[in-house]
């Protein structure tokens, strides 16, 4: 008995000694709280359905955002492109929707990320409305309720343009209040013009939707005289588009401030207030991981994009004769 008591006492003393030493000597390594454990999602599959095509800057940005988040998580990512920007007929989109459906059936993803209106309109709405398959959408312009959404199996980020802020900037360099609108003749851009008026009460004096670059030039010239500032929304969907041609044309013919909401049309615009495609992709991928962790899509609130990028094109500024204000110069990315 005496022996046992002595042994226990000795054990306690030694334990106290070494634990004390350990406390003193414990290394002050940075703890990696919140770091994604390697391959935590091994065996999980996510399908990203892109409404458009690789090489389209917006699609590439969303893809990059998704890949940034999913890299190293162990998730198997598959990308399906519907290619409906170049092929913009409804019939083509319906066929692309059916192909996407067969890809889903074959790949059997745990979560689907559907980017932009057509992926939602032609895949999710007809085939996966209130289904068991969780869907994260992004890039849907302004409002998902036009597709009857959100559904109980969807969560998503609405894409809103920063047009009202853009127009505020442009007006600082304009001589009047007349605002014009020029864009490719696509369903999305027509929807955008409608929502600018509906949500921000922006009354465009003139609106042009064009299908070819010649039509764009014609409208560009007309707007120089018809309005005091105008928004050049998007060139995607304009046939035979040439960036260099557009840039040269804008440099020769710009007289009034022209703004854009896309980075790829900055060469022919004065100020750009653009959305960041990566934000849509990153949010979607993070939300997909939350769903894989057991969160229900219906418990995740619908959000809108928050990040933006400001651009100033000095060559066009020179054509407009604008001395750019300090706040813009300090915050914008300068294009020379």
């Amino acid at each position: 008995m005496e022996k046992k008591v002595m042994l226990v006492l000795l054990g306690v003393v030694l334990l106290t000694t070494f634990s004390g030493c350990a406390t003193i000597e414990s290394p002050t390594k940075d703890s990696k709280v919140g770091e994604t454990p390697t391959k935590m999602y091994e065996g999980k599959k996510i399908l990203y359905i892109d409404s458009y095509n690789a090489g389209y800057e917006w699609s590439d940005g969303v893809t990059k955002g998704i890949e940034n988040i999913l890299n190293g998580t162990g998730v198997e990512l598959k990308v399906f492109r519907m290619d409906t920007k170049i092929n913009n007929s409804g019939a083509f989109a319906e066929k692309a929707g059916l192909r996407a459906k067969s890809v889903i059936e074959e790949f059997r993803p745990d979560v689907v990320i559907a980017s932009d209106d057509n992926a939602f309109n032609y895949v999710i709405m007809p085939y996966y409305r209130d289904a068991d398959l969780p869907v994260v959408f992004c890039g849907i312009n302004w409002d998902v309720s036009i597709y009857g959404g959100p559904y109980k199996n969807t969560a998503g980020m609405i894409e809103v343009s920063l047009t009202s802020q853009l127009i505020s900037y442009l007006k600082e360099y304009s001589k009047g209040n007349r605002i014009g609108y020029l864009s490719a003749d696509t369903e999305t851009e027509r929807k955008n013009a409608l929502y600018y008026n509906k949500l921000f009460n922006i009354n465009f004096t003139k609106i042009y939707f064009v299908k070819t670059q010649d039509e764009w030039k014609e409208a560009f010239l007309k707007l120089q005289d018809e309005v005091d500032v105008f928004v050049f929304e998007n060139n995607a969907g304009i046939n035979n588009w040439s960036d260099s041609d557009a840039e040269a044309f804008a440099l020769n013919n710009t007289k009034i401030p022209v703004g854009t909401t896309n980075s790829w049309t900055m060469q022919s615009s004065f100020i750009g207030m653009t959305k960041i495609a990566d934000e849509q992709g990153e949010w979607s991928a993070q939300t997909a991981l939350r769903i894989l962790n057991g969160k229900r899509p219906s418990d995740i609130p619908i959000v809108t994009n928050k990040k933006g990028m400001l651009y100033v094109n000095l060559k066009i500024a020179d054509k407009v004769g604008a001395i750019v204000k300090p706040e813009l110069l300090k915050n914008a990315q300068i294009i020379r």
Binding site: L314, A317, E327
Partner: protein
């Protein structure tokens, strides 16, 4: 630990331990004093660095103020804003200089870079201020503004780097101090713990060095008390306790020499495998060993003091007591089988030996019983008995007649009940008799090779042997049996008996004979039949009969094993292969069909095949009955040729009739050219039309494939076209509508229908539309229920005169219509007067 290592007494050991602790503590205190001096020196170095950080923070505030004032100047462009900016520049220059006074060489280089950028910002700002006041072009102003902001950002970066460097130096200083303080704390803590551990160990060792030997002494004393003197306490020290242990060991050695231990006896009893009981003369148990306790399930305390009777299974009450008395009288009982009674009531057979135990004077001290457990032996004996019983049961339950025969004399030594039943004998009539006497009813054994004896085979080969024999029953009935014999050997491998199994195969034999007869009949049928018969399996000919050999010209030997499809004419190969595969796969395909095969001499032979699926040699196969239909085909060709000739003849007749009628019509036409009276001409025209309508039937008949029927639509169409050509003056005024179903009419019906159509359409054309009025004539022909046909000719003209009965007019045409409809067609005719005129004729078609 050896005896030498503990030469010190207990008190001195304790004093030595505490002295070591005090020395350790003093050493540590001296070291800590030196460390504290170093910490003080580090703290003094940190003071100028903290001043530098404060100044750099002031510089940062001024830089932001400069940025803000430049913005204001660009936005409002007032002179006072420019002055504010210049003040910011002065302030920042003075801050830099104040830092340089206390900075080290590294920081001074960075400060000089900061000052250079500041000067550049100042120069650019002043230049830009001039530009804006002179309203220069926007491009240059924008570019200069951007440059200015880039310089300010660069200044921010440089400032940040210097601030970071200074902060790092302070951090390193603080960390060094912290590290040293931490080291001192750690050393003190370690020291405290070491002293504590050392103290505890010292106490433990001291306590143990006293208490452990005393404990051993206590245990040794207890052992001696129990009579065990072989205890020895190890001496581990030379202190007071060691000396006590030495004295104790000496005492036990003395005791061992003078006293006998009872352990020896106990160990003998304990290690015995056999069960031992020692009882008093009155039967009271005194000693039991472990073996009996383990077997019966008692503890030794439970048996001690109780009667020995309780150990025995009491088949006969109190019998053991008399048995004990007998032992006492005899002195011993050796190896008698008895049963022990276990605590749980089990009966345990034992081989028991008992003897009485006496002292030197012969007085009985007790009884010693030694027993051995024979349960396993009993179980083995039971198994053998059961095995024998089982063998007998097996023999009796066999369906075959089994006998066991002594090989020395062929005498039967055992039979089963089936044997007796089949042979109709009693056991005593069989046992001891020779096998050939009982089964073959003869006086000597079977003599090979004509009379095979399987028993002899088994005896010679030592192996199993079989043969078919004819055995005779007791009543003389003859039975076929299949005999099989197997050897029974002794331990040396010598055959001593043979098992003779006779299976009654009389029924099978009779069935085989019947089958052979049947096969012979079947073979005769197949070989003597008029049709060829083949069996195809896996695409190959497995069987062909003689007739098939005759048809094909091949011998049976040549044909067997060849692919059947090689014999089929190429036009039919695909059909035959397809049918063969589908039929074997279970699909329904025609069983009867005609093909051509190629004979050995290369001739095409038409044959009719009747195929079906059969099982042949355990596999699915196709059996085909092949009939040579060369003669039948030849006859059919003859008939076809004959029909063709008749058809040609009939066409020729129709052709000639039509030609003759057209000649008659031409004659009338020719004759009419000499007539001036219009009424007579009209009569001629009408007659011509009637002849034409009949001729048209014959024309249609010889043009049609079917010489008995014509397409009524085509016929009426041609007929009406002819009438329109004759009577319609203004084409387009009167139209013809035909609603005629696709109906083929016999010549007997077509001619009267054509004549009726001729008359009624002519009437409509002539009378219904006066003075060139417009109108429509409709001809309809349709099937109604129960093979009834309805022929309707109508117009929407002026209508049939209301007071006129079409049956009683002078018109030959209407008279003809009525006669044809009622007498030729055996139908009924009705006139419907509405808008225009409509004649409905209903008649029965020919089935």
């Amino acid at each position: 630990m050896t005896q030498k290592s503990f030469k010190l007494s207990i008190g001195k050991k304790i004093l030595l331990g505490f002295s070591i602790l005090i020395f350790i503590y003093l050493g540590m205190a001296l070291r800590s004093y030196s460390d504290m001096n170093e910490i003080n020196s580090l703290a003094e170095q940190a003071v100028p660095l903290s001043y530098q950080i404060t100044s750099l923070q002031e510089f940062a505030v001024s830089l932001e103020s400069l940025d803000s004032d430049i913005d204001k100047f660009f936005t409002v462009n007032y002179k006072e804003n420019q002055e504010e900016v210049n003040k910011d520049f002065d302030n920042m220059h003075s801050i830099i200089r104040s830092i340089e006074n206390n900075a080290d060489s590294n920081s001074i280089a960075r400060l000089q870079e900061i000052e250079r950028i500041l000067s550049e910002i100042q120069i650019n700002f002043n230049y830009l201020a001039d530009l804006e006041q002179n309203n220069s072009n926007s491009r240059e102003i924008n570019e200069k503004r951007i440059l200015l902001y880039e310089l300010i950002n660069s200044q921010r970066q440089k400032h940040r780097e210097l601030l970071l460097e200074t902060t790092n130096k302070i951090q390193v200083n603080v960390l060094d101090q912290k590290k040293m303080i931490s080291g001192i704390m750690k050393e003190f803590l370690m020291l405290g713990i070491s002293i504590l551990v050392f103290g505890v160990l010292l106490s433990f060792i001291t306590s143990r060095s006293i208490s452990r030997p005393i404990g051993k002494l206590r245990a040794a004393t207890t052992e001696i008390g129990h009579g065990r003197f072989n205890v020895n306490i190890p001496i581990q020290s030379n202190d007071e306790i060691g000396q006590l242990a030495f004295a104790f060991n000496k005492m036990t050695q003395e005791l061992q020499k003078t006293t006998v231990s009872k352990d020896y006896v106990e160990n003998i009893i304990k290690s015995m495998f056999d069960m031992l009981v020692v009882a008093a003369p009155d039967g009271t148990i005194k000693i039991v060993n472990k073996a009996i306790c383990d077997l019966l399930g008692y503890r030794s305390e439970e048996l001690a003091g109780r009667s020995i009777d309780m150990l025995f299974y009491d088949d006969v009450p109190n019998s053991e007591r008399s048995f004990l008395n007998e032992l006492i009288k005899k002195g011993s009982i050796i190896n008698t089988e008895k049963n022990y009674l276990a605590k749980d009531g089990r009966k345990i057979p034992v081989l028991l030996s008992m003897s009485k135990m006496c002292d030197d004077e012969g007085n009985i001290l007790g009884v010693v019983c030694v027993a051995k457990d024979i349960t396993e032996r009993r179980r083995a004996e039971d198994l053998i008995n059961k095995s024998n019983e089982f063998a007998k049961t097996v023999l009796s339950s066999m369906k075959d007649a089994i006998s066991i025969i002594d090989v020395n004399n062929f005498r039967i030594i055992e039979v089963n009940s089936v044997f007796l039943k089949i042979y109709g004998m009693k056991k005593e009539e069989v046992i001891g008799k020779s096998c050939y006497e009982i089964t073959h009813k003869r006086a000597q054994p079977c003599i090979p090779p004509y009379d095979i004896c399987p028993l002899m085979d088994t005896l010679n080969s030592g192996e199993h042997s079989t043969a078919e024999h004819v055995h005779f029953m007791k009543d003389g009935e003859k039975r076929y049996v299949e005999v099989s014999t197997s050897p029974i050997m002794d331990d040396n491998g010598k055959i001593i008996h043979v098992i003779h199994v006779a299976r009654d195969i009389t029924d099978r034999k009779q069935a085989e004979e019947a089958r052979q007869i049947s096969e012979k009949k079947y073979s005769t049928l197949v070989e003597k039949g008029n049709d060829g018969i083949i069996i195809i399996q896996d695409g190959l000919l497995k069987f062909i009969n003689s007739k098939m050999a005759d048809i094909s010209g091949y011998t049976i030997k040549e044909a067997i094993g060849k692919p059947f499809f090689d014999f089929v004419f190429f036009e039919f190969k695909e059909l035959v292969i397809d049918n063969y595969k589908k039929r074997l796969s279970g699909y329904e395909v025609p069983n009867n069909y005609e093909i051509e095969i190629i004979s050995k001499d290369g001739k095409n032979i038409p044959v009719e095949i009747n195929a079906s699926v059969i099982d042949y040699e355990g596999k699915r196969a196709e059996m085909a009955i092949i009939r040579d239909i060369t003669d039948r085909k030849r006859a059919e060709d003859q008939i076809k040729l004959s029909l063709k000739e008749k058809e040609t003849l009939l066409k020729e007749i129709h052709h000639r009739v039509k030609n003759n009628m057209q000649i008659v019509s031409s004659l009338l036409d020719h004759q009419a050219q000499y007539i001036k009276d219009k009424n007579v001409i009209e009569i001629f025209t009408e007659s011509q039309n009637r002849i034409l309508s009949m001729s048209l039937v014959h024309e249609k008949l010889y043009q049609s494939k079917d010489l008995a029927k014509i397409d009524f639509y085509n016929y009426i169409n041609d007929l009406a076209a002819n009438l329109f050509q004759i009577y319609v003056v203004n084409p387009g005024k009167i139209t013809l509508t035909m609603n005629i179903e696709n109906i083929q009419l016999d010549i007997d019906l077509a001619i009267p229908c054509g004549l009726i159509a001729n008359e009624l359409v002519t009437n409509s054309l002539k009378y219904a539309f006066p003075a060139g009025t417009k109108g429509e004539i409709t001809i309809a022909f349709s099937k109604k229920e129960e093979n009834m046909l309805e022929f309707v000719i109508s117009d929407d003209g002026i209508g049939f005169p209301k007071d006129l009965d079409f049956r009683k007019t002078d018109s030959l045409g209407l008279h003809l219509v009525t006669i044809l409809a009622e007498n030729q067609l055996h139908g009924e005719i009705n006139l419907i007067r509405g808008k225009g005129t409509e004649f409905q004729i209903k008649f029965r078609g020919i089935k």
